[in-house]
Amino acid sequence: MSLRDVGRRHLALIAFYSTRYAVRGGTGLVFLLLVLVLGLFAANLLISRVEQLKLSAGGDEAAKERLDDVVRVAKPLVEWAVGGREDLPVTAAQAREGRDPWATYLLQKRPALLSAILLGLLFGLPLVLASGAFNQYSGDVSTRGIRFVLLRTERANIYFGRFLGMAVFAALAVGLVLAIVVAYLGFALPFYTWGELLGWGATGFAALVLLSLPYIALCGWISAAIDSQFGSFAVCGLVVGGIPLFGAIGGLLPHYGKYARYLHYLLPWGVQNRLLHFEAGQVALAALACLGYTAVFLALGYRHFSRRDL
């Protein structure tokens, strides 16, 4: 069975119905609420401090003068996320200007608060995705319910259709979080214009969607390989959370630390923040890397799914 067997209509049907059943079944609903609650709570940690700034300034016009304070609120998270990473290769611009240009870009040239929120979402999204994408196949394979569909469509349509459904659902959830954040920043806080917020919000949305694809594909591969829903959930969580954790812990080792950090590149973890880089080339490379990871995980997962007994 080859990829020529993929049919657009079947892909769309399977994507739609798998998402619909996921929400009714519980995993989709839990995922949606996790994305909304965690995303908005995380954003609120920063926004609430800026709201205090606005209040203490005593009005919108006065508040606009305190943009530097807003930058100070966002700075620690931004510098933690994009600065001081010894494992990242230094670009030509950074070599000329030092390691600050990226942080400067995110804090000064783009809405600093939104940059910090986006970096926080990039950090937390993979783990939340694992909680939603672990059951793309394992549930129906274990109940054999997938057999009702196997004679009606290609395995390729089932595999890629469910991936597509999960990707669209995740994009909608993430988009909702960002829409609420951007709308609030635009209506309630006087620091940035709508143009700045919408432009950077759209870029951030694209970055989050691009980041979600490889993790959904990875969890799909795991889900196709493990028939048990709980087993699939556990392994997805361990892989998505464990690899960067091992990389970080290994990085503390005296001699092997610098090698251990390369573990991050087993997942998009190593490149994901570059989706918000100040150099277009870096952004493009990071995007291509995410798509590359997605293609690899999809290929491995589909290869397994197409050949296994169901």
């Binding site: 929400v23 519980g26 839990v30 949606l32 909304l36 908005l40 609430s48 709201e51 609030y184």
Partner: protein
Amino acid sequence: MHEGKRPGGLTALAVFNFIGVGVDVLGIITVLGMIVFGGKLADIAERGFRKQAEARAREEGRDPATADVEPDQQRALAVMRNYEGGSGPILQAVGLVACTGLLLAAGIGYLRQRRWGRILGNIYAIVAVATVLQQMRVVPPEYGGGLRFAALIGFLYPVVTLYLLNSTFREDLRR
């Protein structure tokens, strides 16, 4: 015909309700505590703030008798004193108690797949939205009142509940 089983999503919604009940109970205890003891707590806090101010004055070589509580701390004390016996906070507490009771009853209704579960869930959502609006009005802006992002989060669950009860799970709550 055997007894119907719930969709997993409806069970998840009930569980989220019960988690909300737990969180709301803590909120109720806090608000009630402030209503009853707000003034006394403010007095205790003020004594502590004054001692801090006097210690700072001594370090800076000033006369401790001239030391005063910081403006931020004064605002906090005023809020605590306003809570005691205030009608706004009492309404807030009533709203919280109503929401908690509705959340609990609705959650039980979801688990038993009863029509009254859907009705109570809808009522909860409306009451929750009204309670958040009331909180926004009662609590001073510098302490989380007014139009704040945190308040938007307070609207999130009621809105999601309204949507799910009246579309996705509508047919499952008809008995």
